[in-house]
Symmetry: C2
Subunit: 337 residues, 2 copies
DNA sequence: AAACATCATGGAATCGTTTCCATGGGAGCG
DNA sequence: CGCTCCCATGGAAACGATTCCATGATGTTT
């Protein structure tokens, strides 16, 4: 088989100039008869315009980059799906890569995306603010999703209202009578700090004294989460409710409770951030705060491609969260463990 | 800020020809001193070679396309992760898109990837064999993953040994004494037929008569799965074990059993294909057949980029599955529902 | 010392598009 | 009938890289 046909081949086959063929495919004004002939020739030759040639000339590739920590995380997968949906509707393709929480790898991915001359980058940033500062300088445009970096206030971002979600959850647990509520949270220094701060704030507002050793941190891995949960529930048998700051932590709490033969919610109430699919399958089903990964991704992509002007104005876009009450939280019981 | 620097700018800044700069960046032979000067100039100008220019000249983009039905499906997400891991190690980027089971959308995505001049395509094909036949003709190279299309035997593919998994599961259930085993399967005509055939084959080999109305089909959606499971368990109260052909169907079986107040495994044993994360969180944890989405993706990518010669030789690559026994299946009890 | 092999280097063509500009023809208008 | 205006069309110059080929300068061998 011959090499793939080019615009020149089509022009020759249709007996027209290449400029005319180009016009046919990129929407210039061409007489109906000519257009017909060109399309026929193109069909005959199986011609597809080369995005490389076009991209070179136009100095943009018509694609965007998407960097997430991990595509297998259900919430991040939803976010990816949201970006894909929006990008597709705007005719752009998406180059996806996973940084696995490693700032170096993240920087390398950005480097690659810049070489690809993507029209923009959406990222759930992992690490280094300095790297991103450099990236933002060289890269056309960046939008953060689901997470921001402390040092970079002016990068546009789309976030869920995590603080609101944590607050709602805390108030809900307090409303059930719980006082010794544990917070199973993200890594100490990390941006997850938003949730922890919200928890502390909510308790303060409710007039519930905070016991420091009921706030435990874990790196975002199954093992670390399990260890943190196990440590907490063994150390403090008097805890009556656990608020997990993410679905990995919620999972850990459920498993540890089961391991320790604690009944949920009779012995301990469990609730978590992130309403992932298994929350409903759990026994009992888990109360959780839902935030739409799909919406975050979609909105971030819109912000990037559709509203370049509005980007970054007025701080990050905040998307609502919703408390989904299921069976894993119960009222405080007088007689306990 | 000026427009992004090109190779010409760097050449001028370093006082060398553009050919030399090109050699520095794509590994030609350059004297140490000159290389130094060029790199310095490049650093000064924040120069990144343009993949568009290079791609145009080299007639390949250095990227591959990946088409899956849905990135939010945990198994498919793993597959995506596998492809990303392999592609990264080979220095290629990955354009991901989701076809949502729609052959038209799939064809459109392929079209786009061809325009992007990707070096190859990995697909979990949804539909139309004819479309893929056309695609395979025009597209450099295609590898199917996790699924094949009946009409296209010579497209290279990487699959899990689903048949083996189903067989193992069937034998396991039969070994526990079950005779009225239901098969909750994929759409009637669809490629999921592999699993159903394996189920029928295993029963036959075990000498267990098959009752046709214990084999039910459902489209791959939560609602359809739930409806199918509910229909089955209500219609046939004498079923003692359910083999779900996928995690959505397993999920449905669990929910329906709970809804009908059936104890698992005392009243009914449940097992499924796909060892997704929640299988372990379920109460009781679900027995399942594990297959590694990551491996399938990784292997497919290797096949595509690394072993163009071996592609398609000797039929599809089959990856092993593993029966993970948990608590959701028990021995047949004499007195039942 | 002369001839030759080796090597770093630059020039120029090329990859497949888009788009500016010039050209020519037809239609509309005075 | 002649002028203008418009529209379809083709030529040619970018866009940013790679790479063949020629050239001049080294270093090596007899």
């Amino acid at each position: 088989m011959r090499r793939t046909a080019t615009i020149k081949d089509v022009a020759a086959a249709a007996g027209v100039g290449i400029a005319t063929v180009s016009r046919v495919f990129s929407g210039g004004s061409v007489s109906a008869a000519t257009r017909e002939r060109v399309l026929a020739a193109a069909g005959e030759l199986d011609y597809r315009p080369s995005a490389l040639g076009r991209g070179l000339k136009l100095r943009r590739s018509g694609g965007i980059g998407l960097i997430v920590p991990d595509v297998t995380d259900p919430f991040r997968a939803e976010l990816v799906a949201g970006v894909l949906a929006c990008a597709r509707s705007l005719g752009e393709h998406v180059i996806v890569d996973a940084a696995h929480g490693d700032p170096d790898r993240e920087a390398e991915i950005v480097e690659r995306l810049v070489e690809q001359r993507v029209d923009g980058v959406i990222a759930v940033p992992a690490g280094d603010a300095a790297d991103w500062r450099a990236a933002a300088r060289v890269c056309s445009s960046v939008v953060f999703a689901d997470r921001v970096l402390p040092g970079l206030p002016d990068v546009p971002a789309v976030l869920a209202d995590d603080a609101g979600g944590v607050r709602a959850l805390t108030e809900y647990l307090a409303g059930l009578g719980h006082r010794r509520i544990a917070f199973l949270g993200g890594a100490p220094g990390a941006p997850a700090g938003v949730r922890e701060r919200a928890f502390r704030g909510a308790l303060a507002q409710l007039g519930i004294p905070l016991e420091e050793d009921l706030v435990v941190a874990a790196r975002p891995s199954r093992d670390a989460a399990y260890a943190a949960a196990a440590g907490l529930l063994q150390r403090r048998a008097d805890v009556t409710a656990v608020l997990a700051a993410g679905h990995l932590l919620g999972e850990a709490a459920v498993l540890v409770a089961r391991e320790l033969d604690l009944r949920v919610p009779a012995d301990v109430s469990i609730a978590m951030m992130d309403d992932v699919a298994w929350a409903e399958l759990c026994d009992p089903p888990l109360t959780a705060v839902a935030r739409s990964g799909h919406d975050i991704g979609y909105r971030a992509c819109e912000l990037l491609l559709r509203e370049p002007a509005r980007r970054g104005r007025g701080g990050p876009v905040l998307l609502p969260t919703e408390l989904v009450v299921r069976g894993s939280c119960g009222p405080l019981r007088p007689s306990r463990r």
